[in-house]
Amino acid sequence: MQLIKDRQIIDDIWNYVTDDAELAAGNISVSLARWQQDKAKLLAHDGNIGVRLGPADSVDDIAADLNSLQLIELDFPDFADGRLFSHAWLLRERYDYHGEIRATGHYMNDQVFYLSRVGVNAFSPEKAEDLPVVLSHLNDFTVKYQDSVN
């Protein structure tokens, strides 16, 4: 599977591990609940670790762990739930997180411009054919009125 990271189309080197699955080797991401429950095991795991946040999760809950995390996935159950936009802003601006912030799930291509402005730097579209579309949407506007992450 491919995705966009820092405006480049690249291969996805991460696997999301569901809460009831065994931890596989390599770069894996897990839910916030799994992270909180299996933190010691995950930190000893061979490979990089990411955490997937839903809109109802609080960024504060991983604030102390951010140095151990190479990826934060913001998983959209529905494009209309705008809490993840604040999560991204908080991760970058309040907690100074420098790792990958990736949008996954059901967001719209028409939202990627906004998401990039609040600090999301990776987009995993539902359909592979959307990759060039997402790239072009990152340039929907060439001007902006407010400060944000960028």
């Binding site: 809109p55 494009f79 209309a80 739930d81 705008g82 809490r83 936009f85 604040s86 802003w89 309040r94 719209m108 028409d110 939202q111 411009f113 906004y114 998401l115 402005r117 609040v118 929907d140 506007f141 060439t142 001007v143 902006k144 009125y145 407010q146 400060d147 944000s148």
Partner: protein
């Protein structure tokens, strides 16, 4: 008036290109109904009963004559020769074709107009006092701050998908003409004990199904912190506002359910972390103020003597002056209201011919600027008193001189069942019937300051809950009934109207209203306004009379 610079123009042009692409994708079935809905609403496009409805932004109610002519052109070319002015100082078209909306937006962008965020669950058009900058009770002109807020809210990357719509109103005068206490955030320019001017911030007000009066969250906020404080409120709302139930998603419910104290603690905690960001320095404020400098008033205007003479000689003119003009901070000038409440015309509607003519009148008599008001009328804000007589004569010909501003026939009225897919009941027809029953201008003037607001459904677009008399259309097993309330106000003495009793049938509404007016006339003390009387005696005498006849 704020002049768009290159960046502003690029933004609206790019917005048009974006929407054109979105609409093409939708029409080619490359985008789902749900996705397109969210995107089109953010460009003011609704799908209504008969056709789409397009809501154009009127930033804090300010337009220039070129823009008004463009609206006339759009009405003529893409619609049925008229448009509708709303309570939020916006303009609506009721009959555009969906596939032509990108072209309409391109036409509008050519005169720096747009429909950005006039609908959808995002920060909406900021509204303000229609007499800003000219009224005599002003602490400071709110428009520069409105424009700063307009820019901050436009395409805000973090707050474009909020739990629900979000409305901000700003007032700079002692008399609140912008209904600030019924907005998600109400801002009032105030002076502190040291004589410095800042903002009183109110939060959690709103109308609709659950009308709530906003509460003061910050009695005094320094101007430099305006945007960081707004950001703190919006972030808390975005993170904690309810998303499980559309009817409980407004910030007023969050404030109510958490309690002001807890909500305010959350906001304060957030704000302390960001208060130094986004600071409005004096340079930025002064730069924006320079966009709203007063026009070149004629210092000789005050020497005119014709105005009082014309009033003495022409009673109709004098009446119009009394009801349809307002005091101006510059001697020799007045602000002139153009009533969009002629008896035989739907409240707030205007034809292409009227729009073009008003644009000409604005150029001739009021520095080319036009304002729309919260009560769905227009204003030429800077008219020399010596020009008022000829202006009045021309407005008479245009049917824009009905001397009823602030009276019982200056009704706020939503489109109701005639156009709106949400409505349960008609409102335009009822308004017309009430108008016909109250055709005696002397009687209307004798009643004086009385505001009737009528909505065709619980969503309350016409703010019925804060009308001195509120009329709310409800559906009862397929027939239209109307719930009446008394004593509401959206001004300084903000209040939510009290329900008079059971809803009345459609054919009884006009009779009920005339009965209410008769009770008022019978019980009022000398010079006592309707609202004061209701507050003094309560609703019982009205109730007894209205229900005695049913």
């Amino acid at each position: 008036m704020y002049q768009y610079n290159d960046n502003d123009q690029i933004l609206v042009d790019e917005r048009v290109a974006q929407f054109r692409r979105q609409t093409e994708q939708f029409l080619k079935s490359e985008m789902s109904e749900d996705q397109y809905r969210a995107l089109r609403l953010r460009n003011g496009l609704y799908i209504q009963t008969h056709a789409p409805m397009l809501r154009i932004a009127g930033p804090y109610g300010l337009f220039n004559s070129k823009q008004l002519r463009k609206i006339a052109h759009v009405a003529r070319t893409y619609d049925k020769n008229y448009c509708h002015f709303t309570t939020r100082q916006n303009i609506q078209f009721n009959w555009p074709k969906l596939e032509e909306v990108p072209d309409i937006l391109a036409e509008l962008a050519s005169v720096q107009m747009h429909a950005i965020q006039t609908s959808g669950n995002c920060m909406r058009n900021t509204t303000s006092d229609h007499l800003a900058g000219v009224c005599i009770d002003e602490i400071e002109d709110p428009r520069p701050y409105c424009e700063i807020i307009r820019q901050w809210t436009t395409l805000h990357p973090e707050f474009d998908y909020l739990p629900r719509k979000f409305k901000i109103a700003v007032s700079g005068a002692l008399h609140d003409r912008a209904a600030t206490q019924f907005h998600d955030i109400g801002l009032h320019l105030v002076k502190n004990d040291a004589g410095e001017i800042g903002f009183k911030v109110m939060v959690g007000g709103g109308l609709g199904r659950t009308p709530v009066i906003g509460q003061i969250i910050k009695p005094y906020l320094e101007k430099k912190n305006l945007l960081s404080y707004l950001e703190a409120i919006l972030r808390i709302y975005n993170l904690f506002g309810r998303r499980d139930n559309k009817y409980k998603a407004r910030i007023k419910i969050l404030v109510k359910e958490s309690g002001l104290e807890k909500f305010s603690t959350l906001v304060e905690k957030e704000w302390l972390l960001i208060r130094d960001n986004n600071e409005l320095d004096n340079e930025r404020i002064n730069g924006m103020k320079a966009q709203f400098v007063a026009p070149a008033y004629d210092t000789d205007a005050v020497r005119d003597t014709s105005f009082s003479q014309q009033q003495d000689e022409n009673k109709a003119f004098a009446t119009w002056v009394k009801y349809n003009t307002a005091d101006h901070k510059i001697s020799g000038y007045r602000a002139a209201f153009l009533s969009l409440k002629a008896p035989d015309s739907p409240p707030g509607d205007m034809t292409d011919v009227q729009l073009d003519a008003v644009a000409d009148l604005a150029d001739k008599y009021s520095f080319g600027e036009i304002r729309s008001t919260h009560r769905q009328n227009l204003i030429l804000a800077d008219v020399k008193q010596a020009d008022l007589f000829v202006l009045w004569q021309q407005l008479e010909l245009l049917k824009l001189a009905t001397p009823n501003i602030g009276t019982v026939t200056d009704m706020i009225c939503c489109p109701g069942l005639d156009f709106c897919s949400l409505a349960n009941a008609g409102s335009i027809g009822v308004a017309k019937e009430i108008n016909e029953a109250l055709d005696d201008m002397d009687y209307i003037h004798d009643i004086g300051d009385l505001k009737i607001n009528m909505s065709g459904c619980m969503n309350g677009c016409a703010h019925q809950s804060v009308g001195h008399i509120g009329i709310l259309g409800v559906d009862k097993k397929g027939t239209e009934w109307y719930q009446l309330t008394l004593g509401g106000s959206s001004e300084n003495n903000a209040a939510i109207g009290e329900r008079l009793g059971p809803a009345v049938a459609k054919d009884q509404v006009t009779k009920a209203i005339t009965t209410i007016l008769e009770v008022y006339i019978e019980h009022r003390l000398e010079d006592e306004s309707f609202l004061d009387m209701v507050n003094r005696v309560g609703i019982t005498p009205f109730k007894e009379q209205v229900y005695a006849i049913n």
